[in-house]
Every structure is written in C-alpha cells, then in structure tokens.
C-alpha cells in the first residue's frame, strides 16, 4: 500500500483537465504502453505565447495521473517559456510529495511538457535512435540519465531507478548506472588530473573489465605499452595481430571505450 498524500489521492480521484484538445497548438508524449505508463499532453497557446488550456491523457498508476493532472493546473495561464522552467521536483512538491519509488511519475510529466513545448517551437524532438541505450527494458538513454542525475542530484542506483525507472526491471544495467553516477558526480567536482601511474592503473582496469573479454572471444588480446598524457600506446596480441580489421577494432572499440571512461581526447596509437 502506497502512502499517498491527500493531494495525490484527490487528483487521481478527480483528475483535472483530463481529455484531449482538438486543434491543439502543441502535443507532447512521454512513456509507452509496454513500459507501463504513458502520458499525452495537449496545449492551447494564444498569440502572446500564453498557455490558455492544457489537457492530458494518462495510462499509468495513481501518481502518474496525479502528476499529469496537477501539472496541467500549474501551466495553464503561464507563458510557454515560463512553463518550460517547471521541474519534476516542483510537480512532486505541489502534490505534497510522492513515494520515492514513484518519483519517475513526476519525471514523466515533465518529459511530456518538454516534448510539447519542443513541438510548439517546431524543435527537433530528441529521439533515442542514435543514443546509447542504458536500460533496455524501459528504453532509457545515457544522456537522459545523466540529465536526471544532475537535476535531481541523485546519488545511488536506487534513486536513479525511482526517478527514471532505469534498472527497475531485469536489473542488468545497474552496473552501468553506477558508472554513469560515478562519472557524472565526479565530473561535477572537476575530477583532479590523474598522475601517470594512476592513469596506467585506470586504463589497465578498463582493459581488463571491458576490452580484453571481448577481444578474447575472438582469440586475441591487447597489451598496454605506454601512456603519454592522452596518447595511449597499445599492442594487439594473439589473433588480433594478424586481423585485417584490427584498425577498426582499435578506433571503434578500444578508443571509444577509453574515451567513454576517461576523457574525450584519448588517442590510441598501435605500436
């Protein structure tokens, strides 16, 4: 049994502004049927950019309906640029709080609002098509996670799951979420520059954990020879040595991995 606030209960019992708007000036969607919740938001905007009407249709639990409902109340009468500043935290606060496991409902409300405003300005809506998907169960991209971690100051994997659902089903991506948490929270504090020894240890760890296991599957491997600032000298061994595609392996896989885990300026040199 969830400990829902009176406001949450009032809003799912008597949803405000439920329905759709014909000839809406903007429509935004978030979530999907297969993920278990989905929200469609319709806006009517006058020539001065004021939101004169907002309606929603939600497939989801009590807190999803409540988040959608209260959000429409919060944006009606506001200028669209003003509405854009609304955060998921404000939605949750207006509801008198949400159980931690239900924070993702307020995030979904906010996502739909962003999508609707982008639609109003005819901006390209970012799709997940060319993004790295971290949580395959709920189709959640890395950049989305990074953004939510920063805005909501999330510290643990469980918090990330509560706010975004990522990692909440099969749980296979929880390790990756931890890494993203580490990298976001470290970048935040401007990570100190690593000494050469620290750099070597870090690279070797990444090789051992992510790179070698893949190369070994094809009968090859990789050896770290030297590190000079961002230039990393490596040697391919085993079958990789004679492989005609070894250059591709180096740039597309090895370099990409190290760029992701260390920094964007990493350059791989084969010796």
């Amino acid at each position: 049994m969830w400990n829902y606030s009176e406001t949450v209960m009032d809003h799912y019992r008597n949803p405000r502004n439920a329905g759709s708007i014909e000839n809406a000036d903007a429509i935004g969607e978030a979530g999907s049927l297969s993920c278990g919740d989905m929200l469609k938001l319709y806006l009517k905007v006058d020539k001065n950019g004021i939101i004169t009407d907002a309606k929603f249709q939600t497939f989801g639990c009590g807190s999803a309906v409540a988040s959608s409902s209260i959000m429409t109340e919060m944006i009606i009468g506001k200028h669209i640029d003003e509405a854009r500043k609304l955060t998921n935290k404000q939605i949750a606060e207006a509801l008198g709080g949400l159980p931690p496991e239900k924070m993702h409902c307020s995030v979904m409300g906010h996502e739909a609002l962003e999508a609707a405003i982008a639609n109003y300005y005819h901006e390209d809506v970012k799709t997940n098509a060319d993004e790295e998907i971290i949580c395959k169960c709920f189709d959640i991209s890395k950049s989305f996670l990074e953004n939510e971690i920063k805005t909501n100051n999330l510290k643990t994997v469980d918090e990330v799951t509560n706010y975004t659902k990522a990692g909440g089903a099969c749980g296979k991506c929880r390790g990756r979420i931890q890494e993203i948490l580490d990298s976001v929270n470290n970048n935040f504090q401007e990570a100190p520059k690593l000494t050469k020894t620290q750099m070597i240890i870090k690279i070797n760890n990444i090789i051992e954990k992510y790179i070698s296991p893949e190369l070994r599957k094809d009968g090859g491997d990789i050896e770290l020879i030297d590190v000079d600032e961002n230039e990393i000298k490596v040697k391919l061994t085993g079958r990789c040595q004679s492989c005609s595609r070894s250059n591709l392996t180096l740039t597309h896989f090895v370099e990409a991995m190290l760029k992701e885990h260390i920094n964007e300026n990493i350059k791989i040199i084969q010796v």
Binding site: L33, Q57, C61, G168
Partner: protein, 402 residues
C-alpha cells in the same frame, strides 16, 4: 466517516480467520500455556493436543502417517525447509528444475541456489498458463536433485498436474525428489499425497482461514531431510523451537473446516467466480480473460483490462470498498510486471492492467453482484483517461460493439 463497505476479493493474498478457528485457539494463550515438552500434566496435555492436530493435518494432506507432518511458520518456510533440507542431505547432484511461474518464495530461493553453484532449469507455460510438461521431462537427467512445481498458481489459479509430474520424473530418475508448493491449492481442492510419487508438499494456514504465521510441510517417510533450524528435539528434530501451540491448534481446526467445505468450494464458490468472470467479460469490451484453462482452482480469476493500468483500477476499486490485486508493476514497486503473466505471454496491452479476483467461502452473491455492477463504471472512467483512444475504438469495433 461512515463505515466503508468491504468486499474482500483477495483471498489468494490472505483470508479472514474463521471465528471457529479463533475460538479453539484462545484458551491456549493464557489458560493452557504449558510447554508441550514439560513432564507435568499442564504441559503434557498440550503435547496431546498437538498430536491430535498432527493427525488432522495428516488427513488434510491425505498422508499415510502423522510422522510425515511438520509444523512451520509459513509457506515460505515450508519451501525452504524442503528444498534446502533435500540439498543439504545429499550433495551429490547439482541440477534443479522448477517453473517460471512459481511463487517468489520458491523462485527467489532458486535464484539464490544458482549463486551457490546449482544449475537450474526454469520451465515455461503456454498462453493459458499451463505448464510445458514435456519440456520438464526432457530436462530431467541423472544429476537432477529436485523438481519443484506448484500445485496451483497464485495469480491465475491454474492447477498443474503434480501427481503425473512426480510419477514421470521418478520414471526418468528415481532418485530425483519432488517438492510441491500447495499453498494455493490447500482448502480449494482436495490434497491426497499418499498414493503419489510426491516427496514433499508445503501449505500455509492463512490462505484457508487460519491465522498468519503457521504452515505445514509434508515429507514422505522415506525421504531424508536435513534440518534448517537446529536446537531442541521438537518436530522430530527437524525443526527446533518450542511449538506454537495455539496456532497449531488453529491450523488443524481451519484444515478440518476447509476439508468439510471443499464441496461448497467446488460448487458455490466456483459458481460465484464464474458469474463474476462472465459478468465482467460481457459488460466490458476491453476486458480479456488471462487464462481460460478449464483446470483452475474454483475461486480465482485473472482478467486483463486493455489500455488501462492496474494500480489505478485497484485504487478506484478501493474507493468503493472492493479489495483485489494486480500483477501490475506499479503496485509492487518493482517496476516489472507479473512474471507469471509475462511467462504466459499476456499481450503488453493488458499486462499492466491485469486484476486478480479471488473469492472464498465467505463471498456472497450480493458482493459479486455489486462488483459486476461497479466494474464497468470504474473501467469506463479510466478508459476515458487513456491516451490510447484510437486503439480502444478499434478494439470496440473488432468486438462488434458499435
């Protein structure tokens, strides 16, 4: 606030304690509180009361001897005691078989055993929730220590052919043990272990009108089990700890009442369940029966409502006094919808909006009529909120409702 109506249709979650059960338990709290192991008559009479209770539970299982009956604290404990007990007693085999739709108390134990080095084969079900038994038999090999299979599924009520499974498994490997989780079958259909190849069977009292905190495990006399809880000699040295006398007495009374009520379950309870099921399916176009298998326990139905979400249905039902449960992810906080419905391949349009109604011998016709009357109102209200109006319209047309 006026007293809210209470229509309890969640009897697979737990049941009300029968007044007659409570009545026989009460004297054992502050009147006959002696320790059954004590030498004096004040304790010794409790020993005899337990003995009598064990006889009753023996009959409830249809077991051969009261020595085959052990009292536990829950269905989960019964499962752990049986499965761990077998594996600890004989470590020569490392392969286990179970189903994808077991209750968490068995499934999570198997996940743990996998971490401890056992190989586990999980057997699937068809779209009606019936077990792929051929797949199960094909998985049995000389290293298979244990097969565990539930008697009836908690979410759908589907009955698995456990007697046949036990017999076939033994014909492939006579040393493989068979554990049956009968928590959802006990009190709903007759148990009769003695002429079967089933080695162990677990039940839980609070599913058939005994209180929470008492269960039982049947272990065939030829089966060697290592104890989980070591200490005193209670339960023939298989489960230490002073006996929970009042609850054991209560369990026996509940079992006896349930046994007597089995014909009522098979007729009247089934009739009401069918009425509820047919009422909902005929009145609500986006309702679908998640299993139409003939072989179900008489009290359970699981109905999916397409394009609306289960928690919201339950919250709205709660507002009008109806208690039910859902395989929806949102109700559990796990974010992942029911593993049972997923294993059955319930379409994702209905997966998150599936509701289980489970009746008991206390369910009345008036309650069922009220539920049939109210369900369309609730579902229509939520369907109107759904963003899938186009899909709902198509569904309505497909079903030939203008």
């Amino acid at each position: 606030m006026t007293d809210k109506k209470l229509i309890y249709l969640d009897n697979n979650a737990t049941t009300k304690v029968d007044e007659k059960v409570l009545e026989v338990m009460l004297p054992y709290f502050s009147q006959y509180y002696g320790n059954p192991s004590s030498i004096y008559e004040f304790g010794g009479k409790n020993q005899r009361a337990i003995k009598e209770a064990r006889e009753t539970i023996k009959d409830f299982f249809g077991a051969r001897s009261a020595k085959e009956i052990f009292f536990t604290a829950s269905g989960s404990e019964s499962a752990n005691m049986a499965i761990r007990g077998i594996l600890n007693a004989d470590k020569s085999k490392n392969h286990l078989i179970t189903t994808k739709v077991e209750h968490a108390c068995v499934l999570n134990l198997y996940k743990q055993l996998e971490k401890e080095g056992y190989n586990v084969t999980y057997i699937g079900v068809n779209s009606d929730g019936e077990l792929n038994t051929d797949e199960l038999y094909a998985a049995v090999n000389e290293k298979t220590a244990l097969v565990s299979c539930m008697y009836a599924n908690n979410e759908t009520g589907i009955i698995f052919p456990v007697e046949e499974i036990a017999q076939k498994v033994k014909s492939i490997n006579k040393d493989t043990k068979v554990y049956v989780d009968a928590v959802q079958a006990a009190g709903k259909i007759k148990l009769d272990v003695q002429n079967t190849d089933i080695d162990m069977m677990g039940i839980s009292g609070h599913k058939f009108h005994a209180p929470k905190g008492i269960g039982s495990l049947y272990v065939k006399s030829s089966v060697l089990l290592s104890p989980l809880v070591i200490g005193g000699h209670q339960e023939n040295g298989k489960r230490a700890g002073t006996e929970n006398v009042p609850f054991i007495i209560g369990l026996a009374k509940a079992a006896q009442l349930a046994q007597d009520a089995l014909p009522y379950e098979a007729t009247k309870v089934k009739e009401l369940r069918d009425k509820l099921e047919n009422g909902i399916l005929s009145k609500i176009y986006n309702a679908r029966l998640n299993s139409s298998a003939y072989n179900r326990v008489p009290n359970t139905t699981n109905i999916g409502f397409e394009y609306i979400e289960g928690e919201l249905i339950l919250l709205n039902l709660d507002d009008i006094g109806i208690c039910a449960s859902s395989g929806s992810a949102c109700t559990s906080g796990s974010l992942d919808p029911s593993h049972v419905l997923k294993a059955m391949g319930v379409p994702f349009t209905a997966l998150h909006g599936s509701i289980r109604f489970s009746l008991s011998r206390y369910t009345t016709e008036d309650e069922i009529n009220y539920t049939i009357e109210k369900m369309p109102e609730v579902v229509n209200k939520l369907t109107a909120l759904s963003p899938f109006q186009k899909e709902l319209k198509e569904l309505k047309e497909r079903k030939g409702i203008a």
